[in-house]
Amino acid sequence: MLTHLGAPIEVDFELLPYCNLRCVHCYSNAGPDQPRIGLSLRKIEALCDELVDLQVFKIYLGGGEPFAHRDILDIIQLAAQRSLAVTISTNGALLTERRLDALRRVPPALIQVSVDGACARTHDGIRGIGSFDKAVRALQLLVRAGLCTAIGTVACQSNYREIPDMLRLTLDLGVRSFHLMGLQPAGRALSHFEDQQLTEEQWLVLHKFFSHRAAALSNRIEFHIEIDKFVLFKNRLFTPQNHLDKFAKMWCTCPCSRSLCTITANGDVLPCALMRDVVAGNVHRQSLREIWKRSAGFAAIRRRSLGIAACSDCHFGDCCQGGCAAVTHNLTGKFTGADPRCELAK
C-alpha cells in the first residue's frame, strides 16, 4: 500500500519561536518570552533550493510571528524566485507600510491574518489587548495593496457566537478568503481543549450556516471551512469521493508526514506542527530528502492507519485513515489507535 509521496507537496516553516502576542490557543507555545532566533537566511535559501530539487510546490511561513523574523522579506523573495508558492500566517501587528511596499513587489500567494473574534473584546481576550485593532488595520492595508488576503479563525467556545459576524467583517473589509478551523489540542491549547472545543451541535449549526452562505457568496469570497470531519461522518454529511483512486485517497487524508512536514526554528523536522514530540531529523545534520525517506518516526506514522482495527470496516476508512495522528498522540500519548474524537471508532 502506498503510504506517502516521494516528497512533500508542502513544507511548513516555523521561522522563529518568538511572537509579539501570547495567544491562549497557540499550538507552538510561541510568545514574547521566546527567543527571536531561527534558521539563518543562508540556511533557508539552501533549504529552498532543496525544495525545488524535490519538486515541493508550496511553503507556509509561520512561527511564532513570521514578520518578527528580520529576514522575512528576503525569505519571501528567495522563495518566489524559486517559484515556491508562499502562504504567510500572521497576526498582522508588525505589518508596516514599508513592508507592504516590499510585499507588493514580490506578492506571496496568500497572507492569512488571524482574527478570532468579530470585536476587540473577544479577539483580544484570546490574543491580547490591542491585537484586534492591529489585525483589522493590517487587513485594510493588505486589501488596499491588492494582496491576496485571508482571515483565519480558530473556532472555539469564546468566539462561536460571533462567527457569522466575522464573516460579515471579512466581507466589509473586502478580504478574499475566510478560513475557519477547529481548535487543535497542542501547545497552550491543550489545557483549554476540553472546555473550548465546539460541540457536535455547534459544528452542525456552522455546517448549515456555511452551506447556505458559501453558495450565496461564492462570487465574493472563498471559503475554507474545516468542519470537524468526525461530526460530518457521524451525521452522514460527508460523501466519500469514490472516484478517487487509492493514490488520490492517500494524499487527501491527514497530510502529516505523507505530503507535508514542518521545519522548526532550530531545524528539527516534524511530521506536522501539532506533533512536537516526534522529531524525524534535523536539517542542520541531514538533508530533507534523507529525513523524508529514512526517518523511522515518519515511517511509523505513515503505517499507523494499517493497524487500527476499529477503522477497518468503517465506511469512511479510506478517506479518514484513523484521523489525525497528532491529535491522537496529543490526547492519548500514542499515535497508534483511532483518533479519540471519533465516535464511530468507539
Binding site: 510546490f57 508550496k58 483512486d245 488520490a248
Partner: protein, 99 residues
C-alpha cells in the same frame, strides 16, 4: 453534426495554464495550480497526456500517441477518455484550448 464535433475536438490544442506545475509520483501525478493553490491527482496515464498539453499538440496527435502506448484499446475509447480528462482539467481551470 457528430463528425464535425469530433473534427473540432481533434484539432484543439490544449495548453496548461501558465504556472501550473506537475510532478510524477510512483503511482500517479500531482498537479499544482498556484492561482488557486489547488492540488489535484491523476493516474500515470495522465502524466503521458500532461506532457503533451503544451498548446502545440492537437488532441488528434495526443490520441495517436496514446494509441501507440495502448495498442489494444480502441481509438474511440482513447478519444473519449482524453476528452473526459481534458474536461476534468478545464473544470478546475487548469487548461485552455487553442483552436
Amino acid at each position: 453534426m457528430r463528425t464535425r464535433q469530433m473534427k473540432t475536438f481533434s484539432s484543439l490544442k490544449p495548453a496548461l495554464r501558465p504556472a501550473v506545475r506537475y510532478r510524477r509520483e510512483l503511482e500517479g501525478v500531482i498537479i499544482f495550480d498556484p492561482a488557486s493553490m489547488g492540488i489535484y491527482a491523476t493516474n500515470p496515464t495522465g502524466f503521458l497526456i500532461l506532457k503533451k498539453i503544451n498548446g502545440r499538440t492537437s488532441c488528434a496527435e495526443i490520441v495517436e500517441r496514446l494509441q501507440r502506448r495502448f495498442v489494444s484499446t480502441s481509438r474511440r475509447t482513447l478519444r473519449r477518455d482524453l476528452r473526459r480528462f481534458l474536461e476534468d482539467l478545464a473544470s478546475v481551470g487548469l487548461v485552455d484550448f487553442e483552436a
